[in-house]
């Protein structure tokens, strides 16, 4: 990170503060979403819920592979030196979250692939009969348990890392908060829960995830408040960064699209849905997903707008 800070973040050298466009937030969103999917799938395995008809283990691993690929693709678009991506893998620097990320992502693909073998959907099974054999081998209690725990932990790492990646930028006061990684993790989880809530056919699964999504949304909301409070009680530059979200350039979009449309309104809708006052619809989950995406966009934008020297902003 140091080299980035010194060479790029110096406003005298690079006065353009907006370096990251849409690519990075999209990557962060899909990364978080897949992390959430992995954690939930792992939870389904560990608690033996996978035995019942569900989508968490039949459909989602495939979707996860697609989503993480989309995320990686957009990240790839953002890379300055696309041809040298492989160099990330030649060295492991334990201090660099980016190096972590590269290795975590290396583990995500195989795990998702193995998860998809636990339950073979008939359609794919008909195409590749050999898969049933693999499925049989995996479907042993010990292996499954290990797999579930592995999935949860790698998922959690993936979710954390997106936040840690941003927090490591000391020069960006809005990102330089220990709350960021847990916000991103919770947001990823709630987005994944919403996604399953939306597509699940099994009623119990849907209800369970709608309920957990509600809890996650509440936690996310509290975490966001804590994040802002944390920034406010910190140094002056962090204070300025928080004010960007509270009353500054990004306040309206943040409170309306992230908190309002992305958290509170879907929460209201889903709370009414789980208490059977209204039917389950896809509106709540879609709003949650939208809010998650907006959260990344705004955090990335705010971070790049905020600066270690408040004088630069003015």
């Amino acid at each position: 990170m140091n080299e980035l800070v010194i060479t790029r973040m110096n406003h005298l050298i690079d006065p353009n503060l907006h370096i990251w466009g849409w690519e990075v937030p999209v990557y962060l969103f899909f990364g978080g979403l897949v992390a959430g999917i992995m954690i939930i799938s792992g939870y389904f395995i560990v608690t033996h819920k996978y035995k019942a008809e569900n989508s968490a283990l039949t459909f989602l691993p495939y979707l996860g592979i697609i989503l993480i690929s989309v995320g990686m693709g957009s990240l790839f678009l953002d890379l300055e030196h696309k041809l040298f991506t492989w160099r990330m893998y030649t060295a492991f620097m334990w201090k660099s979250p980016m190096s972590w990320g590269a290795w975590i992502l290396m583990l995500v693909y195989p795990i998702l692939l193995i998860l998809s073998f636990i339950k073979i959907s008939p359609m794919i099974g008909a195409l590749i009969p050999g898969l049933y054999k693999i499925s049989e081998r995996i479907n042993k209690p010990n292996i499954l348990k290990a797999l579930g725990i592995l999935s949860i932990s790698i998922g959690a790492l993936l979710g954390l890392y997106t936040g840690v990646l941003l927090s490591a930028f000391g020069a960006r006061p809005a990102w330089n908060s220990a709350m960021l990684w847990i916000i991103f993790l919770t947001s990823g989880l709630s987005a994944a829960a919403a996604l399953i809530h939306m597509i699940a056919k099994n009623k119990d699964e849907r209800e369970l995830l709608a309920k957990s999504d509600n809890v996650l949304l509440i936690i996310e909301f509290v975490l966001i408040l804590l994040y802002l409070v944390g920034l406010l009680t910190s140094s002056q530059v962090s204070n300025d960064a928080a004010m960007l979200l509270i009353n500054g350039k990004f306040a309206a979009i943040f409170w309306i699209f992230v908190v309002g449309i992305g958290i509170i309104i879907p929460l209201i809708i889903q709370l009414s849905a789980v208490t059977h006052r209204i039917k389950h619809t896809s509106v709540g989950p879609i709003l949650v997903l939208f809010g998650g995406l907006m959260l990344r966009f705004i955090i990335v934008a705010v971070g790049q707008y905020s600066h270690w020297s408040s004088a630069v902003l003015k």
Binding site: A252, I256, G260, I261, I265, I268, I269, S272, H276, R277, I278, K279, T281, V283
Partner: protein, 180 residues
């Protein structure tokens, strides 16, 4: 028990007593006056959207037109970052929430029984054009002029409101087949 609720939830709940709905609406309007010092609106947001659209396609043309310029300002601010635009987003959300809890969310077309959907769409489109043009000439729509200006006892708003009702009643006969 659950089945019973679900059965009920399929049929839309009745609309509120109009006077209570009006009271609620009036209180929202009053809150807007107290907090913001301005009333509600809708067509202004649409004008901002049109102005923004025109300025994206033809920036020079938009800035040379007095009407668009009013919404674009000096070009330093995004015209969509406007009070009414956010308010209209809220209207959409509020309508949706109310519709959700009253079980009225349904894909449908509003028209009289003897009318085809296609004809209805054409009429809706034409009506929209008239409405858009009239709203700009009258400096506001039913929410901006009649409701807001009406409660402020604004002279022009009352003249406008009377003309809206006059116009609608006068022409209602000619489009009766659309509705009845």
């Amino acid at each position: 028990m659950e089945n019973e609720i679900k059965k009920d939830s399929k049929s839309p709940k009745p609309y509120w007593n109009p006077y209570l709905a009006g009271l609620g609406l009036g209180l929202v309007l009053l809150a807007s006056f107290v907090i913001m010092g301005r009333g509600l609106g809708a067509s202004g947001a649409m004008s901002s959207a049109v102005a923004a659209g025109v300025s994206v396609v033809a920036p020079g043309h938009a800035m040379s037109n007095e009407f668009y310029k009013e919404y674009l300002g000096d070009g330093t601010k995004n015209p969509l970052k406007d009070w009414l635009v956010f308010e209209v987003i809220g209207v959409f959300v509020g309508g949706f929430l109310s519709g959700t809890f009253s079980h009225r969310i349904k894909r449908s077309v509003e028209k009289g029984p003897q009318y085809t959907d296609k004809k209805r769409f054409v009429f809706a489109f034409v009506g929209g054009i008239l409405m858009g043009f009239g709203a700009k000439l009258g400096r506001g729509c039913t929410s901006g002029q009649a409701l807001t200006g009406g409660s402020m006892l604004n002279l022009g708003s009352w003249a406008f409101m009377l003309c809206v009702f006059a116009g609608a009643y006068a022409f209602a006969y000619f489009v009766r087949r659309q509705w009845l």
